[in-house]
Amino acid sequence: GAGVSQSPSNKVTEKGKDVELRCDPISGHTALYWYRQSLGQGLEFLIYFQGNSAPDKSGLPSDRFSAERTGGSVSTLTIQRTQQEDSAVYLCASSSGGSYVRETQYFGPGTRLLVL
């Protein structure tokens, strides 16, 4: 079946503007994750959604970052008032609810964000 998809593939924005990044998980996957990959910080966890439970937001770097997941499927990561240090690749992953494979996360191709 189809894998995790993300849009846009690339995004260039000006400092101070808001951006929205979208993630479509694998159909039937109940868990969804956002990570950020930057040169200085490597790969960092941002936020995790599991079904209808409250999301784990412990990795969000500031209150300019937020994410939602509508209908238990598509997720949007929003960055308000973007700063140059927000430039990075934003990766989305999903995993299924099966007891054996639940812990394996499958990644999308990422969105490369450049803040000028």
Binding site: A31, Y33, Y35, L43, F45, D56, E103, G110, R112
Partner: protein
């Protein structure tokens, strides 16, 4: 806090050779999972292999195998008969059972030369 260390920023080998990528981790947990992911220039993170900490047997997937040393907190990846398509960044990752978030190492850039 859990940490993952990959001590080899870059490696380069000839096609058909065997190469081993190193990974060590630090945790006080007993139940956890370890992963190797591959990230080619396309940016897509691809799962290469996974290991459950409670299993003593090392995981194997075709040309890829791991050497899991739980006491030493070491999790190396061996690639046999390397191919040009193996050229990529390789990330070692750790997850505590139930924690649901991956902790990644800094990555090793592997180049397979013809």
């Amino acid at each position: 806090a859990q940490t993952v260390t990959q001590s080899q920023p870059e490696m380069s080998v000839q096609e058909a050779e065997t190469v081993t990528l190193s990974c060590t981790y630090d945790t006080s947990e007993n139940n956890y999972y370890l992963f190797w992911y591959k990230q080619p220039p396309s940016r897509q993170m691809i799962l290469v292999i996974r290991q459950e900490a409670y299993k003593q047997q090392n995981a194997t997937e075709n040309r890829f195998s791991v050497n899991f040393q739980k006491a030493a907190k070491s999790f190396s990846l061996k690639i046999s008969d390397s191919q040009l398509g193996d050229t990529a960044m390789y990330f070692c990752a750790f997850m505590t059972r139930g924690a649901q978030k991956l902790v990644f190492g800094q990555g090793t850039r592997l180049t397979i030369n013809p």
